[in-house]
Symmetry: C2
Subunit: 550 residues, 2 copies
Amino acid sequence: MPKVRLSLAQINPTVGDISANTAEILSFCKAAAAEGTDVVVFGEMTITGYPIEDLATRESFVTRAHSAVNELAQKLVELGLGDLMVVIGHPALASPEARNGWAIAQNCASVILGGKVIGKYAKHHLPNYSVFDEYRNFVPGNELLVVERLGLKFAIVICEDIWQTGGPVAEISKHDADVTLVLNGSPFEVDKDDRRLELVRELALKHSTTTAYVNLVGGQDDLVFDGDSIVVDASGQLVGRSYQFEEDLLSVDIEDRSVSLSSAHPLVKKDDTWQIWNALVLGLRDYVKKNGFKSVVLGLSGGIDSAVCAVIAADAIGAENVYGISMPSVYSSDHSKSDAQDLAERIGCHYYTVPIEPMVESFEQELKFSGLASENLQARVRGVVLMGLSNQFGHLTLTTGNKTELAVGYSTIYGDSVGGFAPIKDVEKTLVWELAKWRNLQAESDGQIAPIPENSISKPPSAELRPGQVDQDSLPEYDVLDAILEMYVGQRASAGSIVAAGFDAETVNRIAALVDRAEWKRRQGAIGPKITGMAFGRDRRLPITNKYKE
Amino acid sequence: MPKVRLSLAQINPTVGDISANTAEILSFCKAAAAEGTDVVVFGEMTITGYPIEDLATRESFVTRAHSAVNELAQKLVELGLGDLMVVIGHPALASPEARNGWAIAQNCASVILGGKVIGKYAKHHLPNYSVFDEYRNFVPGNELLVVERLGLKFAIVICEDIWQTGGPVAEISKHDADVTLVLNGSPFEVDKDDRRLELVRELALKHSTTTAYVNLVGGQDDLVFDGDSIVVDASGQLVGRSYQFEEDLLSVDIEDRSVSLSSAHPLVKKDDTWQIWNALVLGLRDYVKKNGFKSVVLGLSGGIDSAVCAVIAADAIGAENVYGISMPSVYSSDHSKSDAQDLAERIGCHYYTVPIEPMVESFEQELKFSGLASENLQARVRGVVLMGLSNQFGHLTLTTGNKTELAVGYSTIYGDSVGGFAPIKDVEKTLVWELAKWRNLQAESDGQIAPIPENSISKPPSAELRPGQVDQDSLPEYDVLDAILEMYVGQRASAGSIVAAGFDAETVNRIAALVDRAEWKRRQGAIGPKITGMAFGRDRRLPITNKYKE
């Protein structure tokens, strides 16, 4: 039996940009062919990007995307790549009798060879939990696809098909598939990587099939696809692993039952903190680039959240494209100004100071606000400044709130919450500190200046909206708060069960009430990259009007 | 065979307020029993309110709601109502083996008699399109429930079960059910009422069964349940119809095959405009009340949108609880101030003037904005004023943007878009005018002062953010714009097919691009009552990052 070279093309498509995605696919096909590849497989919905959400319910969109597959087949022949077998994900219209209400399309994988589509598979298991709405948008398929090429049988399935029992995957061994190709659009979550490898191993062993798991890479709104495509042989051995958070072409040679890596790739991944940081950087970078921005603006308060956001931004698009604005009020401490400036100097971003006192004063004179209204006023004046700079110069505004703050509503709507993207939206406060320390250590171990001022990490957090205010005036210590939130939000535990786990009842009930009450603010919040199993946004869909308290 | 009295209890539950909902259920049971009712049926999920969204994935919530059904059974006995058969909607945990990922609960109807639950039905068809996510949140049931009482067989099904083919509904005639009870949580959409009656008639005729269709009433976030419960006899004849947009108890007497109304209710509904107006009023009223507000604040520009919103608010919660704020700038025309004041005087709401020039000037001095940044600044200063008043006095802020404006992004984010509720979010501009004229005519025919100044209706719309600006400087005429939007948004048509329908290509492409580009702003917008088949929000879920242009 001849040696067959299989390549996993881990690319970064943009949702809706069918022609650019096709060009990128062709470029990877050329590169694969140039290194002698026989079969190249791309991720789920690579033609359109993923997830396409309700674009799947627009007949014209689905038709256009499906045509692009046939055009791709033609172009491959024109480029002399007719012998390269290409497996590509895309939507296609379901048969008229199979359509079901709004769902008119299927989530497909087509196999292209010799200028033609020689087989098409439609995803069977449609995830409709967490951030996914595929039962809304797609009609399930029911039949496994198996194609032969160069003496090998290739079975083809898509993503969720291997996360559930039953369906076409169960048929793989009946067809004696030598190789199973799994096309994925699997977003990053801390620790999810290990679950993927486990599932792929189980599949390979159960059906005695070499398994190639190809993921997308790149940011799409609140999701970050981390890549990390993998190949496992029929004995369950991990053979190859793509780089995380970048485009990559991973090739293996299959000869009889033996599978070997054709170019060096490390099998071991970087640690969780590295992964989280890189997810946040890629999520921001792709939001900026794919939406046509060139620069970002954000408020620098001297605190840890805005410091971490600024460094993420600098890592994502270069410090020269980051505009940090210090907006001190009468309540701002000296260190907030000096820490903000120190940060800007360390990372080399633009830095401007806009004192907000005159603007705050102009409102106060007219309206005589007090208490909360007066505190929020300061935050809102800052929001107006940032959005004005965004409108004037075309910067994307970043909002620097963390997950803990969003959970308890500890932010001013239309104030510090303004912006199109929230880089640390899914990062709880205790993890913000951890990331800051980690990033400083990374810099130091690379012989660079630690980007985040030590004082921003060590000082007690404060919104500085009234004299001497610190967060712990009204919130428990952050380690306690984050632990309660992980149970209430992350695990959907009842307040009662959190108390039963040993937390103070008054605190738990107060926090639960704060979380519930902030739902309307979260609903109007910017999107930001999901890194946990329960991010605010599409992961957690609760009514605003909701009197349940238990 | 004895005469059996059946009552349809159309009540207004609040999501999560299980004890208040139970109290309301008991009060309707008492009223029904007092008029001799034998069987009383409530709407879908009346115990918890509807929709509960991801609350369905919290085990503690579902358990609590299900216990409330047994407590209700006990309380009915304590009140001497053990002989009243009560049919009530609620969630319940699915059997452990049936649970599927996040979905652990079923959408159920229980039949209570003599202090016990004598039967339980679980909804089979789970809507997962439009605003519904029931496949995400529930496990489907598979078996029809039929119970006997006083010589009649009652079949019980839930809402979507009668909108789809197959499933338990198909079994009704096999069981010779005399009466079919359909529990619904069916939100208002213009013209939907007729589809409901049609479906109920089809069901009654097909299975030769008297059919009682009970809907909820009330606002829940962006949905308005309009009630309009109906009874159709086995020959397809409409026998009774509940009032729309209010709680109601509709009773019929069933004797052999004959069904008759036991208290007067008109069979004919009010016209569409009346329905839309009342949906908007109820949606706002319930958002205010169920979220614990007592008053609302909104900017009054002298234009038609804010005028209509103010009148809706006055109709919903009384003009004495409405605070209208005129916030003139240097570009505000004299008529904007006089029309705003005229409106406030006509409806009798509070009225204050806050000139924004000093605040705008304080930003301009510091930041020298021009063009769009300068225009948006004015809108944002107004937003800060309104939110400050909201914080200071506890008013709910209303944002007055209409559907057309939201579609093309013709609003300033964090400016005129600030607020917790958007009363006319799903009302296109041409319909705003129509509603204004209709409401004035209603007032006049009731011998009252027309609330909306004629000038606000007749003058050319303008944002007044620069000298002499009118909307049609940058947008086509509103009748053309709304027609294009109805195709592009409402019908998901491609730009190409809209041009093929006879619209100017340059205009269509520009409008489609504006709609796409405004997605990020809409995602951060306030909720507001859905009145069409395609409202912005949960009805239309599109990526922000999306380069598709066709």
